[in-house]
Subunit: 152 residues, 2 copies
């Protein structure tokens, strides 16, 4: 089988999905645990988008794992189309959420210590960085599956 | 000629490019004219990205206008590839800048009147809205030209 690495059902795709899942969970944890995030629209948006990203990437990681270890294939154009559209929408939303969070965190830091202490600010920045990494892997999955869809 | 509307050299593409140009210029004007925008990183980013978008969309609008009125064609895979990559990068940057500006403007509005007065805040919001519209048209151009590139 001459499979393109990174497409649905390959071990590279499993690694990409696990990376998305880990970074999305890390982004939510940095933002949520003992932080009063719901006072800012951008932070709520980030938590919402990453909360969508976690089940999506986990489901597709399970499908990939099943496909890698049990050797069955789900490569039908309908399924690939749904996955490509979902990745596309989620990658746009992730990028939007990451940029919003990064810019708001930057504004809070530059506007002085009354809004966030040093430790809290760095947690906002770490959360935005994790969201950027999750977006990057999501974009990779989207491009690989788009290539596969075109060749089917 | 059975041309796909919206691809390079069609009148629909000319309309898309002119729309991008107009919205990018409007976004810069709302942000820059008599506004102290360089105190905020997100607003500087928006002005930079829209400043890249203006010459790009103007150049491609001129190419489209030339192609529509003089009836010559530039449909070579190399040229289309460069345009697709440029549109892709610019659409990501536009989305990032628009989201950053929108979230910072929202934060400035909710954090009270000491940061921006009502008129200034609505100008930030209008600038972000124009950047979103410019991103949307840029995404349209990207998708049409990607489709053309695939069929060449």
């Amino acid at each position: 089988m001459d499979e393109l690495p990174g497409t649905l059902g390959t071990s590279a795709s499993l690694a990409l999905r696990l990376g998305q899942f880990v970074f999305a969970v890390a982004s939510i944890l940095f933002m949520c645990v003992q932080v009063d995030f719901y006072g800012y629209t951008a932070f709520c948006f980030l938590v919402t988008v990453m909360g969508l990203d976690v089940p999506w990437s986990l489901t597709l990681a399970l499908v990939d794992a099943f496909s890698v270890f049990v050797r069955s294939s789900y490569r039908q154009p309908g399924i690939i189309s749904i996955i490509v559209i979902g990745d596309w929408v989620l990658s746009f939303l992730s990028l939007a959420a990451a940029c919003s969070t990064a810019s708001v965190a930057d504004l809070l830091i530059t506007s002085g210590g009354s809004f966030c202490s040093g430790k809290l600010c760095s947690r906002y920045q770490l959360s935005a960085a994790m969201a950027f990494l999750s977006w990057f892997l999501s974009l990779g999955s989207f491009l690989f599956n788009l290539w596969l869809l075109q060749s089917l």
